[in-house]
């Protein structure tokens, strides 16, 4: 019997961390004694109260029935889809985007998969937020791009630690990533702060990749400001998708938008690199692309505001309930996106080693799923999703409170 020579991609073995991967591990710990409550994944379809847009489904149906979109799609996307996305994004931008600024992708996941390799020259590095979204770290590892982390500051509404940015960047820093509104922190950055970030990036000679997958999911005092507003200060690559705002993550449709009025992406060759790589990557189905103009143009405001109200209510309920749990600290009331970061005060708990241990025991004892913060870069924190209906949140928090009481240090238990 000959020996098999395969050993496998080592990069894959070490970069196996992903939100979905850890989710699987937790799922294996879960006890089925009670009905499972998921405060773990940010899949808005978990909330049956969210209305789904009939315009979107109808647009896809019409496109597929027409028989005109069974062909291979063009490399960067159907022209009508690119144009519609450009117009949609331009509603909030001073520098209008044209179809040529838009590249259609298979969800924002694929947008990340395309943009990071473009920057991966030997010795290059990229700066990511901590806490952040692990897809970036995983994809960077796979394409040999060095990663550095800047901090988001829990005591300053999760704003960017500008000093840490400046300390980290060097001549090989190609770009920084900002997730805005922020997953996992649940904050919406102010205009002034984003402008400062843009100016700092410019000073440091790096571009900004703005992951705006939660664009417009802002339900507090701060309005959503797209980073592209500052594209005359620093060129911005905006990533987006229809997943969250239209409650259809399973549709897998997103985009890369280059916001660059001074044409710097053309001059430095980034645009050419994106286009070259897209020749050999996948695409969303052609009929889906054909449906995009109608989805972006015809969805009415009531649909958006109704879902935003539901999200606001869920976030508020979650925040209020956290106040009742002394061993958990929520430093910032969420005002955007669909998750929030909560710190575990380990000095008030016993028998639990860290955040992973906390979540595994929680899954076992209470059939409640929460993501350990180490996955998103903050050990001994928790990422808690609020993309669920109010009753599920209340049930989840009841169980969380019971769990924390049960594991509280003796002195805490007596005073509780």
């Amino acid at each position: 019997m000959e020996k098999w020579k395969f050993q496998g991609n080592q990069g894959l073995k070490s970069s196996a961390v992903s939100v979905r991967g850890v989710f699987n591990v937790l799922m294996q710990s879960i006890s089925k004694e009670k009905e499972v409550v998921h405060l773990c994944r940010v899949d808005p379809t978990d909330n049956p109260l969210f209305s789904v847009d009939p315009v979107a489904a109808h647009a896809v149906s019409t496109a597929v029935h027409s028989g005109n979109f069974n062909c291979y799609p063009p490399t960067f996307g159907l022209p009508q889809a690119r144009r519609a996305i450009g117009e949609y994004l331009s509603r909030d931008l001073p520098n209008k985007l044209s179809a040529e600024d838009i590249y259609v992708t298979d969800g924002a996941t694929q947008a990340i998969d395309i943009i990071l390799p473009v920057f991966a020259t030997p010795g290059a590095n990229i700066i990511l937020p901590r806490p952040g979204y692990p897809q970036y770290e995983t994809r960077a590892a796979l394409c040999g791009l060095e990663v550095r982390h800047f901090d988001l500051l829990p005591n300053s509404s999760w704003e960017v630690d500008i000093d840490s940015l400046e300390a980290l960047a060097d001549d090989k820093t190609m770009a920084m990533v900002l997730i805005s509104p922020s997953n996992p922190c649940g904050n919406v950055f102010t205009y002034q702060h984003l402008k400062r970030v843009a100016e700092t990036a410019r000073k440091l000679g790096m571009f900004v990749i703005s992951d705006e997958v939660y664009a417009h999911i802002a339900f507090g005092c701060n309005p959503f400001v797209p980073m592209g507003v500052f594209s005359s200060i620093v060129p911005v690559i905006t990533l987006g998708s229809i997943s969250k705002r239209w409650i259809i993550p399973g549709w897998r449709f997103g985009w890369i938008a280059t916001c660059d009025p001074h044409g710097i992406f053309q001059k430095t060759g980034i645009a050419a690199n994106i286009e070259s790589y897209m020749e050999i990557t996948n695409d969303p189905p052609t009929f889906m692309q054909a449906a995009i103009p109608e989805i972006l143009e015809r969805t009415n405001d009531e649909f958006y505001s109704k879902n935003l109200d539901i999200t606001r209510e869920a976030a508020n309920a979650l925040y209020e309930r956290f106040k009742e749990i002394p061993s958990l600290i929520c430093p910032h009331k969420p005002d955007g996106a669909m998750a929030v970061m909560v710190q575990i005060n380990l000095s008030q708990i016993e028998g639990i080693a860290d955040d992973v241990d906390f979540c595994v025991k929680l899954a076992k004892e209470e059939s409640l799923l929460i993501l350990p913060g180490v996955i998103v870069g903050l050990k001994n924190w928790l990422r808690v999703s609020f993309g669920l209906e109010r009753s599920a949140i209340e049930e989840g928090l009841n169980r969380l409170k019971a769990f924390c009481l049960r594991h509280a240090k003796m002195s805490q238990q007596i005073s509780a």
Binding site: S18, N70, M174
Partner: protein
């Protein structure tokens, strides 16, 4: 590179990004990021706009331009039903929806001596993504993979991107495009991880016999490599040789089968494909390939959930007369191509196509003048006759042509007649 800017008080710095990732760029050798659609676009740009005749496209294997090739009536209904149910708006599990995986498992193993389970199936965004995943999973420093020549350029484009070395074995035009097994054996070494076979063959248009495929399997086993069988053209055979799935030999050597809806159901734009591990001895599991595929699928994108949901209906409910009708049209077109090619002095078709949608034609430069190579031939043909072909260089055989014949028969005749005019116009003038 320094930037001009209105705010003079800020310290100006040049942008750190200079050239970008070489593997991502087309390099001057053209060995990375070549794709059929890239070359197709380039050829189209050579069309003379003043030529009022319709463009005849014999370049891409996308028959959807023609009304005689339509998908089934039921397939769009299956998609529409799934999307309008609102039950498939969530993320799917990373390997794919269970019912879709089961349907693919049943389809692929229908003639096998063993049954595949849904766990052997992984859904991908078209066969393109299946290729992307499998090359990434195999890539490690120093490893190499064996590819057929001529073949399909996505393999080397993707391998270059993830730094997996490629080596080419030949398909032999004088032997019905069978594999040159001697060249295969000579190429393999301790770092060879796998070989790729495209079965039935794109671009050659031949169907491999059972006997030959068994020999290929035995050779692979001897070399300690497994086989990636790209069966995107599965069941699209209209000659005397029946389609034989490579997975039938999985007890000799592990087989990874790639496939999709694109060709057989005429929906390349739907982007739904699969990777299937045919491996009754569990070797791929033991050496870690299956784990790596799953890990990579966890971090890549997937086909839309509602498209996955429509798969069982498409695979199970399509009526036989749909398949038969398409095969008959393809057979007729293959006959037209083969017969008319005999009338074109500078082109030879060494093997009458038996399946898939393409064939390879050799250019006889001794019969023409003023044309340098296959690319020049195609560029001039596009300019002078508004006919688009694929230069053989794109698929690994310089000075050959790949022609797609699965088009409307009248368009095919028109195209071939214009190619004949072209060849006569460029014929060597006898003194």
């Amino acid at each position: 590179m320094s930037m001009e800017n209105g705010n003079g008080s800020m310290r100006r710095k040049k942008w750190n990004f200079l050239q970008g990732n070489k593997e991502v760029n087309n390099n001057n050798n053209g060995s990375s990021a070549i794709s059929v659609r890239g070359v197709y676009s380039m050829m189209l740009s050579n069309i003379n706009e003043e030529d009022e005749r319709d463009v005849v496209r014999l370049c891409r294997a996308d028959p959807t331009d023609f009304p005689c090739f339509r998908t089934t009536q039921d397939a769009p209904h299956a998609i529409a039903e799934a999307v309008e149910s609102f039950r498939f708006n969530s993320y799917a599990p990373s390997g794919g929806l269970f019912q879709a995986r089961r349907a693919v498992a049943d389809l692929v193993s229908s003639d096998f001596p063993y049954k595949l389970s849904p766990e052997n199936v992984f859904l991908t965004v078209g066969c393109t993504e299946a290729i992307n995943i499998i090359t990434t999973v195999l890539a490690r420093p120093g490893a190499n993979i064996l590819l057929p020549r001529p073949g399909y350029p996505q393999y080397q484009a993707r391998a270059a991107f993830c730094r997996l070395e490629v080596r080419y074995f030949d398909l032999l035009p004088d032997r019905g495009w069978e594999l040159d097994l001697d060249s295969l054996e000579a190429l393999a070494d301790d770092n060879t991880v796998a070989m790729v076979l495209i079965n039935p063959s794109n671009p050659c248009g031949n169907v491999f016999t059972y006997h030959h495929l068994k020999k290929v399997a035995e050779t692979a086993k001897k070399l300690g490599i497994f086989i990636i069988s790209d069966e995107v053209y599965a069941h699209l055979t209209f000659g005397s040789k029946p389609y034989v799935a490579m997975g039938a030999f999985a007890s000799i050597v592990p087989i990874i089968t790639l496939g999709s809806l694109s060709k057989r159901w005429v929906v390349p734009g739907w982007r739904l494909g699969w990777i299937v591990t045919c491996d009754p001895h569990g070797i791929l599991q033991d050496i870690g390939i299956v784990t790596n595929i799953k890990t990579y699928l966890d971090i890549t994108s997937n086909p839309p959930t509602f498209v996955q949901a429509a798969v069982p209906q498409i695979l199970e409910k399509t009526k036989d007369d749909f398949y038969t009708k398409n095969l008959n049209i393809m057979k007729e077109a293959a006959e037209i191509l083969y017969d008319r090619c005999k009338e074109i002095p500078c082109l030879t078709c060494p093997h009458k196509p038996e399946g898939t949608m393409t064939a390879m034609l050799k250019i006889n430069f001794s019969k023409i003048e003023g044309i340098v190579d296959d690319v020049d031939f195609c560029v001039k043909l596009a300019k002078e006759e508004s006919v688009v072909l694929l230069p053989g260089e794109t698929v690994g055989l310089k000075n050959w042509i790949r022609i797609t014949y699965v088009v409307d028969p009248s368009a095919l005749k028109e195209g071939l007649s214009r190619i004949k005019s072209f060849s006569l116009r460029h014929a060597i003038q006898l003194p």
